[in-house]
């Protein structure tokens, strides 16, 4: 199944490669990966969605946690974490249908960020499911091009596991 992992890492060269390496060396395909600096510019947060077998999930988190540049790794797969994604969609839509497109896009709170005689480009954010629905809808207006950011996730306030539990506690609670 798809595993959702949130990571706090040191913003250092090679950190992304190390994390991705743990996944790729096990043959897991990374569905999406986003990374950007936190308020503290020496740290970054990564969100990874990857196809991981159920029995490999705990081990993967521990093996990522073991990396010297990783400060914290949490598995948000089964949590009610907030998940959002950004999509840019360019629709080659004929002039006559543009008004209808705008009305429907509004339902998804998508907005036009570029317009030209050939196409509209709309931007939308939301859960991956919502964006899938939007994309399906817009395809009925004409050929589309799109770019998706991949999921970002944030644990809800009460789920936030900071401060990081010590290794000892973590292992015992699982053992």
């Amino acid at each position: 199944m798809q595993q959702l992992i949130s990571l706090l890492v040191e913003n250092k060269p090679g950190a992304l490669m190390r994390v991705a390496g743990v996944l790729t060396s096990r043959g897991y395909n990374i569905e999406s990966l986003t990374v950007a600096k936190t308020i503290d510019p020496t740290l970054s947060i990564m969100t990874i969605v990857a196809e991981v077998g159920d029995d490999g999930r705990d081990l993967l988190i521990k093996q990522i946690s073991r990396l010297v540049n990783v400060i914290k790794a949490v598995d948000l797969t089964d949590s009610r974490a907030v998940r959002r994604e950004l999509v840019l969609i360019k629709i080659y839509v004929e002039e006559a249908r543009r008004a209808a497109l705008l009305t429907e896009a509004e339902i998804f709170r998508a907005r036009v960020v570029d317009a030209s005689p050939e196409a509209y480009t709309v931007e939308a954010t939301g859960s991956p499911d919502k964006l899938n629905a939007l994309i399906a809808l817009l395809r009925s207006y004409g050929p589309i091009e799109m770019v998706r950011s991949g999921a970002m996730a944030m644990a809800r306030a009460k789920q936030n596991k900071l401060p990081v539990p010590s290794y000892t506690e973590a292992a015992l609670s699982e053992g």
């Binding site: 090679g14 990396l67 973590a170 015992l172 053992g175």
Partner: protein, 579 residues
């Protein structure tokens, strides 16, 4: 504060971290380092191939527990190190590797001898660095040593660009440790966890201790012996663990796993409580996982949380360094001894006796011969010479397993084997590193004829340094372990395992300027060995052994450990004899 070049800062940093010897090979971009070494007291040992620099650094590290240091130039130098680094990673051996990199201005332009060392070594190391700023060099070396030796030890690589080596900066040997924010070391387990473990240990009727390399890394031999004595429990070692408990201790059974002893494998199958200490439930130990210790509850102690529940689910996992964990457990065990009722104590003593009986009734057996030297007989002779006190390094294959079965080790850090990665060509260079670390100890490299040919150029290093290492080639003119599998599982279709045309050892040794010889007749073996060990300098002894001998017991890969093959089937033996 003094202005030093990057190369000087690098060498001074190595000295500051306690490096006594660097095993290396120079090249274009490391010229500035070698220019510093030209007039520096730090000892550099010029090896003949970079892979052997990494193995020799491991030999040093395995003998001492301190980080071994190796050095190579960019490109091929760095890629040649890789096998030795992965090997150190698999066996958790502290190694610091220094590599030169092309100048920053040339990186990414396919410069001469450029390779993406930082990328290539990522999965070969515990951690790695690319230093592009001289101001970070000293601190990086400090971190590299810290990461290599602390926690679960492992190799760390520091790649330094040539322009950094040539530039100048202030250097002071007092370095503030920058916090490594993502690098956490295991805490001591809390009291509750220890209590649960103690309860677990007293509840067992048939406890069995399975101890590995983590005990040696942690220097916890004394605590381990005490633990086994307090519990009155039998103890088996992994290949990595040999020597942690002295072979002669009455509680010691032997090695367990694919070529482990009958008693060790039956013991683990029958036990009701399995205590794994510094082990990783490797497939060569467990065989078929669901048949491994099938009736046992498991207590697993390891410094690396990722090892707990990795292969075998632990009923109780204790994350921590073996030494403090065993100390805490021993303390509580001696205080709570009364918890063990008389009935259970009697059951346990009966269990211990049962395991000892199995050990007595099923020693490692082989057929004696007066016509040819049996490889096991060679190991017995070497064991007599060592008396459990010599450092013994091995390669990988049949000789490795026979040595593990037949040699005694009275102390930890005497036995060196590429156990996880299984790299042929390890033994000889590891022996060099061990000899530099422990010049007063007898160092024996027991290698096969296959692995020896992979490490052959290091006879040059041994000769140049007059390193009194005894290289014993167990020569069966074949890649014996591969051949064994072909015999047993591939219908005796012996494909590409014939490595005859082994050189004349006396001539070969003489060509390098060292002493050497060969022996094939069992009647001459004692004298040949005496000659080799009486020689004050290095010695290369080629021992022709029975060519078609298999290592037993053997658990077929993926089989259950209690279904081991104990000896050759009569039919198979005949067929071999008729070959």
């Amino acid at each position: 504060m003094a202005m030093l070049s990057g190369a000087q800062i690098l060498i001074e940093s190595l000295v500051r971290e306690g490096a006594e010897a660097v095993f290396g090979y120079p090249g274009g971009v490391t010229l500035p380092i070698y220019d510093v070494l030209y007039s520096h007291p730090l000892r550099h040992v010029l090896v003949r191939h970079e892979q052997n620099a990494a193995f020799a650094a491991q030999g040093y590290a395995r003998a001492t527990g301190k980080a071994g240091v190796c050095m190579a130039t960019s490109g091929p130098g760095a890629t040649n190190l890789t096998t030795g680094l992965v090997d150190a990673l698999m066996d958790s051996i502290p190694v610091v590797a220094i590599t030169g990199q092309v100048p920053q201005a040339l990186i990414g332009r396919d410069a001469f001898q450029e390779a993406d060392t930082f990328g290539i070594s990522r999965s070969a190391t515990k951690h790695n660095y690319l230093v592009k700023d001289i101001s970070e060099l000293s601190q990086t070396v400090h971190e590299a040593f810290h990461i290599a030796v602390s926690g679960r030890p492992g190799p760390v690589l520091v790649d330094v660009t040539k322009d950094v080596l040539l530039s100048k900066a202030d250097y002071s040997d007092e370095q503030a440790m920058m916090p490594l924010r993502g690098y956490r070391l295991a805490d001591e387990p809390d009291a509750d966890a220890v209590e649960r473990a103690v309860e677990f240990l007293w509840r067992a009727e048939r406890p069995y201790i399975y101890a590995g390399g983590g005990v040696i890394s942690s220097s916890a031999s004394a605590e381990l012996v005490r633990f086994s004595e307090l519990l009155e429990a039998p103890l088996a070692h992994t290949v990595m663990g040999l020597g942690a408990m002295p072979t002669g201790h009455p509680n010691f059974i032997s090695m367990l796993g694919m070529h482990g002893s009958y008693a060790a494998n039956m013991g683990v199958t029958e036990c009701d409580a399995l205590i794994g200490l510094g082990v990783r439930f490797d497939d060569r130990v467990t065989g078929r996982l669901d048949k491994f210790a099938p009736g046992a509850k498991v207590l697993h102690v390891d410094i690396d949380p990722a090892e707990i529940n990795k292969n075998r689910r632990a009923d109780l996992g204790l994350v921590g360094d073996a030494k403090p964990v065993l100390r805490l457990l021993n303390e509580r065990l001696s205080e709570t001894r009364a918890t063990l009722g008389r009935e259970r104590r009697e059951a346990r003593l009966a269990w211990m006796e049962h395991v000892r009986e199995m050990k007595r009734d099923h020693p490692y057996v082989y057929e004696e011969s007066t016509d040819e030297i049996k490889p096991q007989a060679l190991m017995r002779k070497l064991d007599q010479i060592s008396g459990g006190e010599a450092i013994v390094t091995v390669d990988v294959g049949q000789h490795q397993m026979w040595a593990a079965q037949h040699l005694r080790f009275n102390h930890p850090r005497l036995w060196q084997s590429s156990s996880g990665l299984g790299s042929m060509g390890f033994g000889l260079p590891a022996a060099m590193g061990a000899k530099f670390a422990c010049p007063d100890k007898t160092v024996i490299a027991i290698v096969g004829d296959g692995g020896f040919m992979m490490s052959l150029p290091e006879l040059g290093t041994i000769a140049a340094n007059q390193l009194p290492v005894k290289v014993i080639v167990m020569n069966n003119n074949t890649l014996g372990m591969v051949r064994q599998w072909q015999q047993l599982f591939y219908g005796k279709r012996y494909s590409e395992v014939d490595v005859a045309s082994f050189p004349d050892a006396a001539l070969l040794a003489a060509a390098f300027g060292i002493a050497g010889g060969s022996v094939a007749d069992p009647a001459d073996l004692d004298e040949a060995l005496a000659h080799a060990f009486d020689e004050p300098g290095p010695y290369l002894l080629n021992v022709q052994v029975t060519p078609e001998e298999c290592v037993y017991p053997m658990v077929p890969a993926g089989g259950a450990v209690d279904e081991m093959i104990l000896q050759p089937e009569p039919e198979a033996a005949e067929a071999v004899a008729g070959d």
